[in-house]
């Protein structure tokens, strides 16, 4: 399977666009085309590779890919100019100067920070672990109160300035959206029911971890909030969600009260939002918080690594439920730190505390 964040037609167009003043984009696009060729080659079955060795360049030694695979980010930020047409116009490329537009520059910096967490802490090369370029579009729609991952890019609205300000104002939200891409290329959790709530939770977990990593906050210092600072002053609330205390992020006359449960006793059965994926994510979110606090120190180091091992370790099916995921995290903690380790015990206790069974 060929997985590319940039449609091939766009790469072709950019690669041919030197004359229009897009040298950097053209270079980046040609680089991506070459990378895609390399990926295609790597995807060819081993026996065919053997057959082709005489025709193509020699297959690199196993370690040879490592340097190339942990490249820096290749970011391109676009503006939709307040339309809903994607991708929009390029406004900032890798190594380009700051634009002065907060939405553009926050998206650029936020994608860089998230890329850095995955690269420096988990040795992951971008979203797909093969140095996929990072694409973001800002100024999507008019007064658009949302941000999303569309399978190829992160998209951010400006907010309506009544309830929400611009979505790029929160680094945890940028990390959340990029992590949807990581999940798509790793565990591939379906966006529905418990698998969907897990998909959401994984995005929240690495969303808060990006903020903690950048700020250097330990488990005791962190806010554990998703989307702090996104509400206008008119809203009574701190953030969209809290991993520390799901259900307490806001309590507002207009929006109502944060409806997230923190344990299975509050599990919400609903047909809305693909089965309440943004509600029931509170339960695995809280389990991560409990495990991280029990382990102590910096959450991205041990607890984050266990969760990262879980989504990339191959133990999860796309339709995994909470119990499948919990069982996989305990297995990942045992593999990383040992079957009798305090880390494994902390993860096990966290799932028990939120009412999710771990299978033996």
């Amino acid at each position: 399977m060929r997985c590319s964040i940039i449609p091939p037609y766009l790469l072709d167009r950019l690669a041919a666009s030197d004359s229009q003043g897009h040298q950097k984009a053209a270079e980046a696009a040609r680089g991506s085309l070459h990378l895609e060729s390399a990926l295609d080659f790597r995807a060819i079955r081993a026996d065919e590779q053997v057959a082709r060795r005489g025709l193509l360049a020699p297959v690199p030694e196993p370690g040879a890919f490592t340097e190339r695979e942990l490249q820096g980010p290749q970011r391109t930020i676009y503006t939709a100019n307040n339309t809903e047409d994607l991708p929009g116009d390029v406004v900032r490329e890798e190594n380009g100067v700051a634009s002065g537009d907060p939405a553009i520059d926050e998206a650029y910096e936020g994608l860089g920070s998230t890329h850095e967490l995955f690269r420096e802490v988990y040795a992951r090369a971008s979203i797909d672990d093969s140095n996929l370029p990072l694409l973001g579009t800002v100024h999507f729609g008019v007064d658009y109160d949302n941000a999303f991952w569309d399978g190829e890019r992160m998209v951010f609205g400006d907010g309506d300035d009544e309830i929400f300000v611009r979505m790029t104002a929160s680094l945890s939200v940028i990390g959340h959206e990029l992590t949807h891409g990581v999940t798509q290329f790793s565990a591939g959790l379906k966006y529905e029911g418990q698998a969907g709530a897990l998909n959401e939770s994984v995005s929240d977990v690495f969303g808060v971890l990006v903020e903690q990593y950048v700020k250097g906050e330990s488990v005791d210092q962190a806010t554990w909030l998703i989307g702090a600072g996104l509400f206008t002053d008119a809203v009574q609330g701190d953030a969209l969600r809290s991993l520390k205390a799901p259900g307490t992020a806001y309590d507002d006359d207009v929006l109502g009260k944060d409806p997230q449960p923190s344990t299975m006793s509050g599990y919400v059965e609903t047909t809305e939002d693909y089965g309440g994926v943004h509600l029931n994510s509170g339960i695995p979110n809280h389990a991560f918080y409990l495990a991280a606090v029990e382990i102590g120190g910096n959450a991205w180091e041990k607890a984050g690594l266990v969760w990262y091992d879980t989504i990339t370790g191959g133990a999860l099916a796309p339709d995994s439920d909470f119990s499948d995921f919990a069982t996989a995290t305990v297995g990942a903690a045992a593999a990383r730190y040992g079957g009798e380790s305090p880390e494994r015990a902390a993860v096990l206790a966290a799932w028990d505390a939120v009412g999710i069974a771990v299978r033996p």
Partner: protein, 92 residues
Amino acid sequence: MKVSVTRSGGLAGLSRTWVVNVDEQPDPEAWRSLVSGLPWDSRAPSPRHPDRYVYSIRWSRYRMVLSEADLGQWKTLVDRVREKGEPEQGQA
């Protein structure tokens, strides 16, 4: 005759509903024409889009659930209900 639109999901997971009582609108015939001209019996596309809004559109015994990304010809109705409709349950 009532038409309702419930928007759920989105990054924030906030749910909002708007309802239009078509008979109380100044142009009820235009509303009836718009609503009855839509393919209520068709199958909704199945792709899921992380953090995009999900729209549940109801009229009479019909219900259509669509991602914001797949609204297509339903967008006119959704926009009009959001514009003209009454927010339900004291929501914004």
